[in-house]
Symmetry: C2
Subunit: 402 residues, 2 copies
């Protein structure tokens, strides 16, 4: 659920590859495709259908003749289709805040990188319900012509994956060489392995969980409460008027606490005062960590839709891989045909290693080909965007192992 932009906005020291350089996929432009219309609406887990559905996606590398080298990358809460390279025309996307920037997993996708675009055809699409080009609550409701708002159906991880399958069909791909994602993207990778066992060769599930803990549910509930009680929320009908920025900023600030670890916060901020010396005896921002969170909140409201935040966190709440085994995770895992790489990070307390281990053991009991690694890291949940070297090594070995 971490912010793909953070890595670029000073949160890490990671160096990025400029568009013209050897390890960059270069300039990119998202494509858009309509994958559901009135004659062929998308069925949803809630029992409703939705149409039209547009999907924004990017691809890197080339699909080979056998069409067996495609890797689908799945993004997290606030992510988008722009996973690698640099946007060639950010202004053309109609998102005023958007600047050309490297994709959110640029350090993992490119020539010679973990997801090597000289070998693989890499796809990343924006999820249903988001606000980055795919159909979501801010899209026009065909029944009214106005933005859906809360008339948008409650979507699930299963719905996202069902829509991604249509995209993969559209691209003429029967079987994916790999699906891969971190955080909520990891849940999607797992759902792919469960929902389409015969269409996935390998699944890479990072900093994710088979189901969110009650503590995770609780954080999401508080975030949504902050948004829906913002007076500007207006029952979700705020498009064209004042937006519920205060609530969304609070939600985002809270999210950021859960993406970092206690130790990474201590190293980053160390109780330092903004003024450099000590208490100013006032209630405003005093500590650097406060200033950081305030900034993250303010920056986020520029670029994200509050309704999308509600829908996507709700999908995260609902996700429970055990549904494929009528509540029994072991039984669910027996469906899996792909090999799997599971990666957790030692200081991730939002999606803790113990949960990933539980999933690995469930797969193991079903005699699935599963590799599990718990990477020692102080970065907390954000590690899936920051521990590039260790993660790249694991992914490369896993993909190349026959």
């Amino acid at each position: 659920m971490s912010d793909p932009l953070d890595a670029f906005t000073g949160k890490s020291d990671t160096k990025f590859d400029a568009p013209g350089t050897a390890r960059s996929v270069g300039w990119t432009a998202p494509e858009k495709v309509r994958l559901a219309d009135e004659r062929n609406p998308l069925p949803l887990d809630c029992g409703r259908t939705i149409a039209p559905v547009d999907v924004e996606y990017e691809t890197y590398g080339r699909l080979n003749q056998k069409r067996d080298n495609a890797i689908l990358i799945l993004h997290a809460l606030s992510g988008d289709a722009h996973a690698a390279g640099w946007l060639s025309d950010p202004d053309g996307l109609g998102r005023p805040w958007l600047k050309s920037r490297p994709g959110w997993w640029d350090n993992m996708i490119g020539p010679g990188k973990a997801f090597d675009t000289t070998k693989y055809f890499v796809i990343c699409s924006n999820i249903l319900g988001s606000c980055y080009g795919s159909t979501g609550p801010s899209s026009p409701d065909p029944e009214t012509g106005r933005p859906y708002g809360l008339r948008f159906p409650v979507v699930t991880v299963g719905d996202w994956v069902r829509l991604q399958a249509r995209l993969v069909d559209h691209l003429g791909i029967r079987r994916l060489f790999a699906v891969a994602g971190g955080s909520l993207g990891g849940q999607q990778a797992l759902e792919w392995a469960l929902a389409y066992p015969d269409r996935v060769e390998s699944a890479i599930i990072i900093a994710a969980t088979a189901r969110l803990s009650d503590q995770g549910l609780a954080f999401n509930a508080v975030a949504r409460q902050a948004i829906t009680t913002d007076p500007c929320f207006n029952g979700g009908n705020y498009y064209g008027g004042a937006t519920p920025d205060r609530g969304l900023a609070v939600a985002r600030m809270l999210g950021h606490i859960t993406y970092l670890s206690e130790i990474s916060m201590r190293r980053k901020f160390g109780r330092r005062f903004c003024n450099g010396y000590g208490p100013g005896f006032q209630l405003g921002v005093e500590f650097e960590v406060e200033g950081y969170l305030r900034h993250q909140g303010e920056a986020f409201v520029e670029r994200f839709d509050a309704n999308s935040y509600l829908y996507i966190t709700r999908a995260a709440d609902y996700y429970d891989a055990a549904k494929w085994g009528d509540g029994d995770l072991d039984r669910a895992c027996r469906r899996i045909q792909s090999k799997a790489l599971l990666v957790s990070f030692s200081s991730d307390w939002l999606y803790p290693p113990a949960q990933m281990k539980e999933l690995a053991l469930a797969m193991g009991r079903g005699r699935k080909r599963v590799s599990y690694a718990n990477i020692s890291s102080s970065y907390g949940h954000d590690a899936f965007l920051l521990e590039v070297e260790k993660l790249a090594h694991l992914v490369r070995c896993f993909l190349e192992k026959r």
Copy 2:
């Protein structure tokens, strides 16, 4: 910082002693005393002074002739002076929500209990800046005649303790047999040992810390952000009008997550749906844990003042025991003359055991008489109100050891 009322409102299975029974201190009534006036204002760490200052307090048991059996109990964020027994006239206090209820530490204070009122004279006072009878942001500002609001000075743990020293003077007590508190009450106990080393015989510091972690600062910052961005907040001038309930409820919901542990939440809620079976595909309350938090938030706004929440969390932020050693905790601890009992709880992640251990080690290096226990508990930070048996045993042994 946990809610003293929670233990009574179904959060624990603890049984309480009815007023007439042998182990109860019986019916209680708070007293009020003016401890600072224009001629003798209270000096504050911020450089200002404040007057008048009224303090609400309760006492249990009897002060002996030598006046050497007094124990001062310190309360946490949302606590009050009513630490034991049952309020005889709750209506008389002018707090409409108040019902007669056992004090927040009734299971620890009473005849034959850990703080044995047949032996000790037990005192508990409401802190400066709170909304439970002592002077705070909702009190009239003598300069304007209207409630202070944000004109109230930023107070510190040091200020609270300085005011408590005046109360102890007022009661004719030179030296306290013990000071004791949990959570933010533990910081006060520590501050007593540091600020008035010759007035404290023993200090009991529970589920507390010498200084809040950056993660703790971050949670407080988000809570305050939720309050101050509530449109009803109105710069703190909301008395007599609509109050910032939405923001305060969000702050409280967030607080509750930090008072529980991941495992206690799992045991308590286990991802159960309110409807008993599964997803209702809507954005409102779906999981029991959401309903619980929503209820906690709603109940809290009935009984707490948002401005007090701001001031008290700020005091928690600022507290750093190392200030007594110019930033060096070891040096600070050398001031201490009392013996000390330090208690942490294994699953407390708000005030983690490691921080308490750090304090214990600092005292140990100064060759202070310190006992440290880390109680194994799944209750998280709330354990200081719930792990009565283990805690009572430790406290009793400590107090009786000569």
